[in-house]
Amino acid sequence: MLWKNTYNEFIKILAKPRSYIGLAALTLLIVIILFAMKADGKMYISFVTASFEQTLSFNGNVLNGNLIAFIILQMLIVHIPLLVALVTGDLLSGEAAMGTLRMLLTKPISRTQVVLSKLIAAAVYTLILVLWMGFLALLVGRWVFGTGDLIVLNSDGLVILNYTDVLWRYGLAFLVAYLALMTISTLSLAFSAFADNSIGPIVSTMAVIILFTIIGSLDVSVFDTIKPWLFTTHMASWRSFFNDPVPWSAIYKSIWILLAHIILFVSVAIFKFQRKDITS
């Protein structure tokens, strides 16, 4: 019954116009960034390289597809949660608002199976968003700008990665970015179990992200104990793959914290949904 309902969930997501908003918005944003970089990318890069030009000489194709992919990932990872929440926040509450949840739950399928089938559908949808972003950023970026060594500016300084040493980093970076987005998906799914309207869980998810991000960025000692445990702190851990050497222990810690949040949010969704009176 779980897989039958998961199949149903895919049909619903595919047929819903809002499911394509995320993909369309992502495509548009990446095309705009690619266009902007093609038109004025050298100026953009010179801002970064200018401070190093007295000590370093930059030769070859600095503005290449690898750098473009990094810029795109850095710019969009902040906004994609909204595109994800737009679909996943609607999965349970949208059905409650439409009245179809009432129809669905009079069928011989357990409530846990309903939540899990929606979770699987949300996971696949989120994966498609990440893969699509990866395809546009990395493959189209490389096709338009060519390949080359990746120059990344981080808190420790400038990191230059050989072009043969980049692809695996992107693969793992997209995987961790996917985990971060799945945390958002499950958070909005958990909110969705509480609500009977579509917009509430989407707004609540974004509110939590903004709140946690602000707490994370405040340089106040009172928040120091909770900052390492906020999922928003670990949403940018994909960047760590572009350090040299890669800080594996920090990445593992981020993965565990994100996974713990996913399990927590799914458990909350199931716990609440099992006890929910369907009065809509």
């Binding site: 149903n8 619903k12 009065t279």
Partner: protein, 306 residues
Amino acid sequence: MEHHPIIEVKGLQKYFGAFEAVKDVNFTVNKGDVFGFLGPNGAGKSTTMRCMLSLIKPNAGQIRLFGKDLQTERNTILARVGSIVEKPDFYKYLSAQKNLEIFARISGASVDKRSILATLDFVGLAGREKDKVGGFSHGMRQRLGIAQTLLHQPDLIVLDEPTTGLDPQGIIEVRDLILRLKNEQLKTVILSSHQLAEIELVANRMVIINRGQTVIEGTVADLMNAQQTLLNIEFSQESSAAAAQVIAQRFPGSEVQVVSPKTLQLQLEKQHIASLNSHLVNAGFEIVALEPKRKLEDFFIQMTQS
């Protein structure tokens, strides 16, 4: 006839915070019944029906369907139930056929495309299977809702206000459909409706609940016959006052009331109506019309206001 209970509801209670939606509802639906579930707005009908379908968890009481406890054997039970609660809602962005496929897939039975099309035909939606439900009228959605209840050939059909929004032709069709389900397919049907005349026409047993409690339960015939019938008698001449005296002598306590020179009303048990008619005719009164006014509506109002 041996009674085989399909639904047994005992001591059902449900609170929403401090509000007692259902205090003490009890009734039994037997196999093959078309069971009328009546009550005024806010009586607890919808809450009781939702409890029966495990949409709402009761605070106390027991619900058994097909002899099984709903709490412990929910999925086994729901595989044998088709239902519409309140109103049928569908995925508006999907076609009628796709909607039915979605619900059929999780109905616990194997339903093929041919069965879906046949069911759509059965409810009068043949040729509309590819149309999106968003463009359907309320009546069409109601029909699609009924199709959804029948897809997996359930033994028990729960219909909450199935004729709401239907035109007179649609109401007649739903009534015929319910009777066909009972007579041809031997289904058990429980239906709530505000169309009390509809219940009277199709139900063999009924329960009336009010303020979250069972008021009365029994066969429609017994409950109706046990009550006095309000009769309206119209004469060809202005003889209602004289007729009133004759009736009062013959049927003391019949509460005769002269409405006009040619019309009177009285309360009388149903079994005495034929005797009254022949008595008046023998006494020389020309009767133009003798109309029993007591319908289920009167009975319902009497039960829920007492």
